[in-house]
Subunit: 347 residues, 2 copies
């Protein structure tokens, strides 16, 4: 079973190059874009070839490794200074997912300690980040599945799956583990406008694993929850503030309010690399706004009236008070608050 | 100004034929389908050439008029009995909007009283239903706009505009009137998946009137309301139960829960023909489920993973406790309940 699960890999390092599964083309095409330099990786993150906070972090780590190799080959003495421009380029590729900055900082910390030829060491560190993310997901899968009691339907938003991580997934890792344990009768997935990560990515991933999945319009979540079948809303996160506020794909906050109204519990599944203890609350998290055309057009075709404007923030913040559990690889935080988050992070 | 507003007409009766603006093609094409018999009208309702509860009612009334004319021409004695099959055909075209059944019943009540050639009388009655709906919308526009205090942004869901009625609109009628009174700084419209009535219809209508409109993904409503600019969520309805529960486009209930969470008020604008006193609560309202392909494909192109299933209820029910005001042509019901609804309907 674990082999099957590992088949979906969004970020693959092969002999000095990074293969990114082009998630803009899924599910109709499975095509990998090969990045041979840091500019390619930054473009891949910016243009959403790769997406999902942990996957962005892993891709960025490999991007740093490629940048170091290139700068060292150019200039064996001044590479450390030269690579700073590459780290900035990567850091500017997307603003919200903190895993991006976390991975860059972790690579920078290594770089500062290196002597001699740095190339092997940076690749090894990127590979460690990759492997640790996969291991974290498996651990979170166990911890999260344990929170689910009687067999029930669960709901998810966006894609926090293998495609969004080094593999196995965060929210979908929990759903995979819970399904394997016989606890999941049905997965409901919001289609997740405007990018349709639910329809295009989550449904594809779960179908590959033989897990029953039913899509619904983002607005249908309340009507679904009213039916009583869904007991857990399970999502990933792009950044969690020190007080437990959770930033995730636009629509998560909407779904969280609705979940609370219906007594459906909200589980957020994210590795500790997603937790940003430098921000006191979610209000401080920068929210990326993407192009209006993501709403005004579809598949390159105009859908909205000519002249219409659109507001397209692609993340929102769910206050900690609406979160029942944050599941990390270090453990579970129930009813998160600043004190509990601090305790988790110093462990 | 009123001339400009009246330009958008979804249902037009011209010399014995019914012209239906094909709302599946908007905003890219403005094309009228000409219905010359009741079967054409029933198909137009079923296939959503015409949509919106009051517009469906008006179209059905003209459909009955055409049916009576055809049956009378065939058989001057037995037409009344023969037309029953046509009324059934119309009644089966869509299940949720009660205005459809209301219009058929009103036409049937007339038919039962008629002597001699019925043709002029049925056309006159359909025209009265049409004109009364337009007048009701203008009256509701005044009443609803009066509820809005200081200038603010408002939000709407789906299309409850001129396109959904005989003209001027219910929710958009209030927004038109409030905008004319200088009370609306901005209109936010949910795109309204799966059919995108917000992007395709509401934005088009409001732009024609020069009213500023900004579209957003259905899941972005909570994040928008959190900004504090929006003070009212204003929607139409397809059926209102005797206790004030409101059935409307899928996503309305989701938005209503979110509105209450943020202290945004919910105004439902609907003529009394939308109120179904025969149903004690919204739980009894039949909810239409449409084809899965409305979610799995887009513009005829596959978007979801092959093999994925979808759940596509196209209406939901907002309990009366979440409604701040129901605006009808007979008056406004604040904090609706069974007692207040009964008082409205006996007036």
């Amino acid at each position: 079973m674990s082999q099957q699960v590992d088949q979906v890999r969004a970020v693959i390092w092969v002999e000095g190059a990074l293969r990114l599964l082009d998630q803009r083309l899924l599910p109709l095409e499975q095509h990998y874009i090969v990045c041979t330099d840091v500019a390619g990786v930054a473009a891949g993150i910016r243009d959403m070839v790769v997406r999902g906070a942990p996957a962005i972090g892993v891709a960025a780590a490999y991007g740093v490794a490629m940048a170091v190799a290139a700068r060292y080959a150019e200039n064996g003495a001044g590479w450390r200074q030269a690579v700073e421009a590459d780290l900035t380029l990567l850091a500017e590729s997307r603003p919200t997912a903190v895993n991006l900055f976390w991975a860059i900082e972790r690579m920078r910390a290594l770089i500062e300690k290196l002597d001699g030829d740095p190339r092997q060491a940076v690749v090894a560190e990127a590979c460690r980040i990759d492997a640790e993310d996969l291991a974290a997901n498996r651990r979170m899968g166990e911890l999260g599945a344990a929170l689910i009691g009687a067999r029930c339907a669960v709901m998810t938003h966006c894609n926090a799956g293998a495609l969004a991580t080094a593999g196995y997934g965060t929210a979908l890792g929990v759903i995979r583990a819970a399904h394997a344990a016989g606890k999941v009768s049905q997965v409901y997935a919001d289609e997740t406008r405007p990018w349709l990560q639910g329809s295009r990515l989550t449904a594809w991933e779960l179908l590959q694993d033989g897990i029953p999945v039913t899509l619904l319009a983002d607005g249908a979540g309340a009507h679904l929850m009213k039916q009583g079948e869904v007991k857990w809303l399970i999502v990933g996160s792009d950044r969690i503030a020190a007080n437990g506020d959770v930033c995730n794909k636009i629509g998560t906050y909407h779904a969280a309010i609705t979940a609370r109204y219906h007594g459906v519990k909200l589980m957020v599944v994210a590795p500790t690399s997603t937790i940003d203890m430098s921000l006191a609350s979610g209000e401080e998290i920068p929210i990326e706004a993407r192009d209006e055309d993501e709403l005004l057009t579809f598949g390159g075709k105009q859908v909205a009236a000519t002249g219409a404007r659109a507001w397209n923030p692609v993340f929102d913040v769910t206050p900690a008070e609406l979160v029942d559990a944050i599941v990390t690889e270090r453990g579970v935080v129930l009813q998160p608050n600043a004190e509990k988050m601090a305790a988790l992070m110093v462990e």
